[in-house]
Amino acid sequence: MNIAFFYALTGIGLFTLGLYALIKHKHLLRKILAINVMGSGVLLVLVALAARTQNTPDPVPHAMVITGIVVAISATALALALMLRLCETSGRAELPDEPME
């Protein structure tokens, strides 16, 4: 149970926390925060387990995570712009209530 596994478990904890908040909250900005926390959690799992190699940690997950961070901010920026536009047109910062199933 060395440092790699500890941070991997923290990552799983963050992922689940974010998932719970994503489902629970109705306000869009909170959902976007939840998605970001989940993203950080997954990336933490990816890099934490890379620390199990002996001397230098495995650089491939590090490159993947940098790509992941840039993808995360692109998605967040688009989500925020979409949310603002939705607020202007529908006046509410929440998803329109569930359409007829």
Partner: protein
């Protein structure tokens, strides 16, 4: 040294615990502004966690992009949200949740079920992660063997810009795509900043040249130490955000094709270099051994500029208003449907 491992364990446990606690507070805080500020703190602590996991490149990227720029985007969005809702109707988000204080028992049941489901999910994941082998070699040896053929000595930059350069190419497309998506949502409108005081102007005048210098340094150092295009680009974006906050706007000439060209340049240089390699008989994105370092630096330089401008444009939110002269030409071309 028993004391040292105890100390380092203490540090890890507090850092991990604080990360979880901060994330929970961020997501559960009743006031949105507090949530966002806590989220920025969470981003900075994540950067600390990356340093602890021997990943300085990611720590740089996380601090600059994850905490800094994402925080700026969130705060700007919150400001627009509140100013928007004040005019239409005072949508006080917190009052709505208080009004639902007597939640129906269906909702409590739903929450309980969700918690149980998630705890089973966590238990499964924890068991799975702990079942992974304690020691692995991963790809670090294969990367080390091919490192000198990659033209750079920093393994992460080697993976990012040579071994898996194709991923980075697509990722630059994702960044450009986000900006295109945002620009398609809204017609260009003049965003008027509140009058920035002399102190902010002075701070910007001092910091922006320094930020540009640091960005160039990060770009150059990326070859042999933690740094690289994305970290340098995000520092450049910070300078852009600061400038935008003081009410600076790109000049008339620069708002049209020149801006679009600067945004696309990172991706364009990447594709041109890749295709030139194919025409010279090699494979896509295969750099010749002797020039690999120079090609990577060329691509990184163009990418840094494009990433910096794209991230600043993401913060700005809409297309800059093209000057009247060019706008009338564009509008005249449009045949209204």
């Amino acid at each position: 040294m028993e004391a040292l491992t105890l100390l380092s364990w203490g540090f890890d446990v507090t850092l991990g615990g604080t990360l979880m606690w901060l994330a929970w507070r961020t997501l559960a805080s009743e006031d949105l502004f507090k949530g966002i500020v806590l989220f920025i703190a969470f981003g900075l602590l994540m950067a600390l966690a990356w340093v602890r996991l021997d990943a300085p490149d990611i720590a740089l990227a996380e601090a600059a992009i994850g905490a800094g720029l994402t925080g700026a985007l969130l705060l700007a969005a919150l400001a627009k949200l509140e100013s928007g809702s004040k005019e239409s109707q005072p949508l006080q988000e917190s009052t709505i949740t208080k009004a639902m204080v007597n939640k129906s028992d269906k909702q409590i049941l739903f929450r309980l079920l969700l918690v149980i489901l998630l705890s089973v999910f966590v238990a499964g994941l924890v068991y799975v992660v702990l079942s992974l082998p304690l020691q692995t070699i991963g790809l670090s040896e294969t990367v080390a063997e091919n490192l000198d053929a990659s033209g750079v000595s920093n393994p992460v930059t080697a993976v990012l810009l040579n071994f898996r350069a194709y991923d980075t190419l697509l990722e630059l497309a994702v960044l450009l795509l986000a900006l295109l998506g945002i620009w398609s949502l809204r017609s260009p409108s003049e965003r008027n900043e509140s009058a920035s005081g002399k102190v902010l102007d002075m701070l910007t005048r001092l910091l922006v040249p320094l930020l540009i210098l640091v960005s160039g340094y990060l770009l150059w150092v990326g070859g042999h130490a933690p740094g690289g295009a994305f970290q340098a680009g995000s520092v450049l974006a910070a300078a852009g955000v600061l400038l935008l906050l003081t009410g600076w706007r790109p000049g008339v000439r620069f708002a049209g094709l020149a801006l679009r060209f600067a945004l696309v340049m990172g991706l364009a240089v990447f594709v041109i270099v890749a295709v030139v390699m194919v025409l010279l008989g090699g494979r896509l994105l295969e750099f010749p051994l002797s020039f690999a370092g120079n090609f990577i630096l060329l691509i990184e330089a163009a990418a840094t500029l494009s990433i910096g401008i794209t991230l600043a444009a993401l913060f700005f939110g809409t297309r800059p208003k093209p000057a009247q002269s060019s706008a009338s030409r564009e509008e005249s071309g449009a045949q209204e449907r």
